[in-house]
Subunit: 124 residues, 2 copies
Amino acid sequence: MIIEIDFNSDEAIYIQLRNQIIVEIAAARLHEGDTLPSVRQLAETIGINMHTVNKAYSVLKQEGFVSIDRRKGAVVAIDPNKVIAMEEMKDELRVALAKGCCRNISKADVHALVDEIFEEYQYQ
Amino acid sequence: MIIEIDFNSDEAIYIQLRNQIIVEIAAARLHEGDTLPSVRQLAETIGINMHTVNKAYSVLKQEGFVSIDRRKGAVVAIDPNKVIAMEEMKDELRVALAKGCCRNISKADVHALVDEIFEEYQYQ
DNA sequence: CTTTCTGTTATACTGTAACTATAACAGATA
DNA sequence: TATCTGTTATAGTTACAGTATAACAGAAAG
C-alpha cells in the first residue's frame, strides 16, 4: 500500500490518510480481510506520529471500513449501508456539482467524469 | 436569500456560507449581477461576526464567483474556467465515489443522484 | 460639506483542533 | 520472557476559526 501525504495541503493528515485508504479499497488494491500496517509501522514509514495514524484508523472504524482485531490489527471490513451512503453522497455531491454548474459544466460532463472515476474502481 | 447556519456542524461557518451561496447561484436563486448583502448586514442577520462573512466573500471572490464593487459591494460574477473546474471536481468526486463504491453503490446509482441534483440547478 | 453607507485592514484575544511527544498498560504471539 | 499489537492518558506546540474593536478610504445621499 502506497500512501502519499501532502504536508502542504490544507487537508488534515489523518483525513488524507483516511481518504487514500478508502480509495485503495474502492480500487481493489486493498481487499476485505486485508490487514493494514500497524499504527507504529505506518507512522514511521510516512514520518508522522503514531496518534495521527491511529486517528485515521479510528475514523475508518467508525465509518465502517475497517474493524480492529487485537490479534491482527486493523482489518479491512466493509459495513455496507447503502441507504445512508446514498444520502451522505448526495450532500457531498450537491456543493461539488453546484460549483461545476456555475462554470457551465453540463450534466453530461459530470456523467463522463463519474464513468472515468468508476474505471479506477473495481470493488464489486 | 435565505442562509441557514448550523452552529453545531464541524464545518466552518464561512465555508457553510460560501457553499450555500454557490448553491443559490447554481439553483438560479441568485443571478449574475445580483448584489449580496453587505458584510455587516448579513453578519447581523445571521448573528455572527462581520469578519466571518467577509472571509466567505473573500473566498468566493478568489474562487471567481463574485467580484467586489466599491459602490455596490459583492456582486455575483462568474468567472468560468471549465478546464480547471473539471479537474477540481474530479478530485472532489474521487473520494465521495470511493466511499459509495465500497458500499456497493453502482455507477447507475450515482448517475441517478447526479440527475436528481441537476434538477435543482437551473443555471445555464 | 457632512453624514452614512460600503469594503479593507490591523490588532488582539479566546477557544478548539491537529499534531507531536512520552509514557504506560493489557492482550496476543513467538 | 521478549516483542508485537491496540488503547489510553497527559502535555505541549502550532494553527485556524471566530469574535471584538478600531480606524481608514471611497462612494452616495442629505
